[in-house]
Symmetry: C2
């Protein structure tokens, strides 16, 4: 069924082809590739838009040292959705509003090395661009900065051919908030429940951000509130300079030629993290040997040639330098993570671990892992204060059920990057690969080959970094760099060991319970038999049985490992 006809367009010459070469605006590029930004289907677009607005609000509040109060409101009519996100952040200076909301690749977080949710300067303007494409309406923004008597209101869209904001209306108005920002967007959307819902995104956000309070009003007008569990803001991540080990030769050459330092010694001290005078001198001495003594402490950075830069680059790799600083990243913390998990989901067993900081390609990062095992209503056994065992009561099931797998299902993953839940593209994510590559059978779980383990369990992994390497601009999965995979696996193993211990104990309890029930059932018969053989009175029989029971109980209790 080969249907190609013999049609032939005229063949082109080099000159004609040259005439068709054009610059492509970055907005046009992403408009045509909107799935790269998370706007491929109306359902996903709606969640992505909420996520981008909430992430921005959280970043702004934290940077300004404000405890975030965020309200999210979503309505949905015949596939036309409206999203309103309002925060109590510091507000945005009027002259910046249009570019922040109406230009891709514009922002404050890209050029600095410190942890934040946003990093590309694309998310919220992409949401605006999607709304503009599907419904044709601009973003509506109100923002007020502290001390300003009025707020600024603006309608902004993107001129996609130039990647520049278009301001449609602009005015100053009274607003009851002392400071904050409100963004309203209309777009083709589809509201849905389930694993990829706004609710799940917000619930997971609350777990990873215990200092956050959110009020969410869904399209049916129902209100869902997530209260904060701590009034303490996370420490603000410090901005760092690049670590010398992560610098490629070409980048080093570029840094040398852009440097304002007047000597090589100053250049190394000024532009890198962890390089003091002594380390700098060591590097230069080594580079000197590699470059026929054509380098010295006083070499002028801009004049260093390719061969000498190569020698310098080699010398850096061979010099001992302190590991990257880690105060540029802020893990959630074991206690906070446990509190968050306890608050949002019900399980029989929790464990959590925070790994020490590490680095990939010079970028510091840190991994946290938590495991929640056992669903409420599962067949647990517990020991009460008096040492008596009983079956746990089936507890009321909560919405959190979605987060923990059924016992015959693959475990559920809660993936986070810089405190932001990742809901899509699970298969391509470093976190998923690390869980699959961990040998869960060694810890007593069932695991099909090359797949997630099967257990009533949720595995939470948080990767915090100054630069998270996402697999696409929609920031839905983490690129599996070997260093990152390795750290996640180590964290998983730590948690899995504690889980194995718990499961072993659980199993013993279960066996014990069965044995005990068995004994309790047959003790009266033993009593009758003994009475018969030893000719005991009823009282003697009962007291003998009582002693027997106690002895059996004690011997078993002694054997049981401490919880």
């Amino acid at each position: 069924m080969h249907v190609v006809s013999d049609r032939q367009s005229p063949r082109a010459t080099a000159l004609e082809m040259a005439g068709r070469q054009r610059e492509i605006s970055v907005s046009e590029f992403f408009l045509k590739n909107r799935h790269l930004l998370g706007f491929d289907t109306p359902a996903k677009a709606l969640v992505t838009a909420v996520k981008e607005a909430v992430d921005n609000a959280l970043d702004a509040c934290e940077e300004a040292g404000i405890l975030p109060d965020i309200s999210v409101q979503v309505s949905d009519r015949y596939g036309k959705s409206r999203v309103i996100v309002e925060d109590n952040g510091p507000g945005i200076v009027e002259s910046q509003i249009a570019r922040i909301f109406g230009k891709l690749l514009y922002g404050s977080k890209f050029h600095k090395l410190s942890q934040s949710r946003g990093q590309q300067g694309m998310g919220i303007s992409a949401a605006g661009m999607y709304g503009q494409l599907t419904i044709g309406k601009p973003l509506h923004i109100i923002s007020r900065i502290k001390g300003d008597k009025l707020a600024s209101e603006m309608y902004v869209s993107i001129d996609t051919a130039r990647n520049q904001p278009d301001i449609h209306k602009k005015k100053r108005l009274k607003w009851d908030r002392p400071h904050g920002t409100r963004v309203e967007m209309e777009m083709e959307g589809h509201y849905q429940k389930g694993a990829h819902s706004i609710e799940v995104y917000l619930k997971q956000t609350a777990i990873a951000n215990p200092h956050l309070a959110i009020i969410y009003k869904d399209p049916h007008g129902e209100e869902l509130r997530f209260a904060r569990t701590t009034r303490k803001l996370p420490p603000r991540p410090v901005e760092i300079k690049p670590h010398p080990y992560g610098i490629e030769l070409g980048r080093l050459i570029q840094m040398l030629s852009n440097s304002k330092s007047r000597t090589l010694l100053r250049f190394l001290e000024d532009e890198f993290s962890r390089v003091g005078k002594k380390t700098a001198l060591n590097i230069i001495e080594l580079a000197r040997q590699h470059s026929d003594r054509k380098l010295s402490n006083r070499s002028y950075p801009k004049h260093i040639a390719h061969a000498q830069a190569t020698a310098l680059h080699k010398a850096i790799q061979k010099t001992r330098i302190l590991a990257p600083r880690t105060d540029c990243i802020v893990p959630i913390g074991e206690k906070q993570l446990l509190d968050g998990l306890h608050k949002e989901l019900e399980a029989d067993f929790f464990t959590v671990t925070t790994r020490p900081a590490a680095a990939y390609r010079g970028n510091p990062f840190q991994v946290e892992v938590a495991i929640a095992y056992g669903r409420p209503g599962g067949a647990g056994v517990e020991v009460d204060e008096s040492g008596h065992m009983r079956k746990k009561e089936a507890q009321e099931t909560r919405a959190s059920e979605h987060l923990i797998a059924q016992k015959d299902e693959p475990v559920h993953l809660l993936r986070f990057a810089n405190r932001v839940p990742l809901l899509y593209q699970q298969a391509s994510c470093a976190i998923t690969k690390a869980v699959i590559q961990t040998n869960w059978r060694g810890y007593g779980l069932h695991q099909p080959k090359g797949a997630l383990p099967i257990a009533p369990m949720a595995v939470l992994v948080h990767v915090a970094s100054v630069w998270v390497p996402y697999t696409s601009e929609s920031k839905e999965a983490i690129e599996p760099y070997p260093e990152i995979l390795r750290e996640i696996k180590l964290g998983l193993q730590e948690c899995a060991r504690k889980l194995a211990h718990y499961l072993h104990h659980e199993q013993q309890l279960h066996q014990e319970y069965d044995r005990r029930t068995y004994i309790e059932k047959y003790l009266p018969h033993i009593g009758v038999a003994l009475q018969d053989i030893l000719a005991l009175s009823n009282n003697e029989r009962d007291s003998t049985l009582k002693k027997l029971d106690d002895v059996l109980h004690e011997s078993r209790t002694m054997q049981r490992p401490a919880p």
Copy 2:
């Protein structure tokens, strides 16, 4: 192990935050995210660089109507790789060279709706940027256009802060090629063999491009040649206008306000594919009813308000319009695909199908599927001309082995988009999902739940489109849009039906062979027994046996289905 100290950076005000807002250059963005462009590891970077250069060479040759002769040369010393790709294409006009090789998002293929390998204007300049980052050397380009006495030579790098080319050296020189382009790049690379090698990329490229001749010299100096199997160039894809069904409301509004047409009627006829006067009148009449008669044939496009545009958009969806034109896409073709497969790999059974063209979001696309089943050396049975069966001889194994799975392995996928092989990110690709979602058990293959079928088989899928929705800028996997998934599945089913027929026949042949061997073994014993019972002479016995054998053979042949 919560290690966060009580450090606190000073909190920022809205004004300070405004001062940090900056524009991010698209080159800086991709430099920091180079994994998005396929340059995450040195091994992958090397393959990606070759691929980008070869894809460009092929596009240029085809556009100029030239049968492509391409040479690829790779060397690799201590992690420093050099790639040289040379073509006999039309050459590049000197004034365009720097921007084509030294600027991201610059090209001729983005804005037109017709099939080509490149579409983003990023690949080759990204390779240059990666070389610049890791080794610090610019790209070296030589290009000569037909009729020009001399060639242009240039060394080009990217000024990443501005996304503009830097020209380091430029001169005119003699070059023995009458026309063509040669690009040389140095980069951190790692040469490797196997499924993700340059060889496999080139072999698959040869399968999908039977008009191409390549000479490849690998780092060990060995030469590999892929000859062309046809001297006929594929028909050149025609450039089309957008189809009205694929246009979102926001885009329609933008088109209206940018239009040079003076009436709505002309606008519809001029700017869309498949809209003649009659269809345009139908659309307008329907839109008129939806918009309180505020629209007419003569409405001035730039003055149409949001409400009327909405009515127009609705009317378009409700009007019957011819399906998109398909001469903008060029499938490989069933015969060419079979020839290519036969040439590059050895199998017992081949089948191929080309689906009719379809569209996703207004973008025409077309799917081709081929299956190659059975590895040389497998236990096949064949019938020779005289009707005798024999076991197939084990054939010499070829390099092609890599492309067909072992019989206890998941099938191998050969994925193509616009004639370009896709080597990475198999798990996220629409092709993989379609193969997994197909019920292969129904066609006689073994298939674990939710996984690829297990068989000695290669499945080739080619998706050709005016705009392939890749899952990232590195163009390694196709986004699983429902329309695309559906077409791939239909193609797979067609091929699978033919495969099932072949397998059924194969199975019968096998059973037959076993039965026949059995009969041949016992016929002499039957002869002896008959001779004994019926008191036959030796001659009578032999002729009876002969008759018996023929009758048995015939009756079996009758039952056997035609091949």
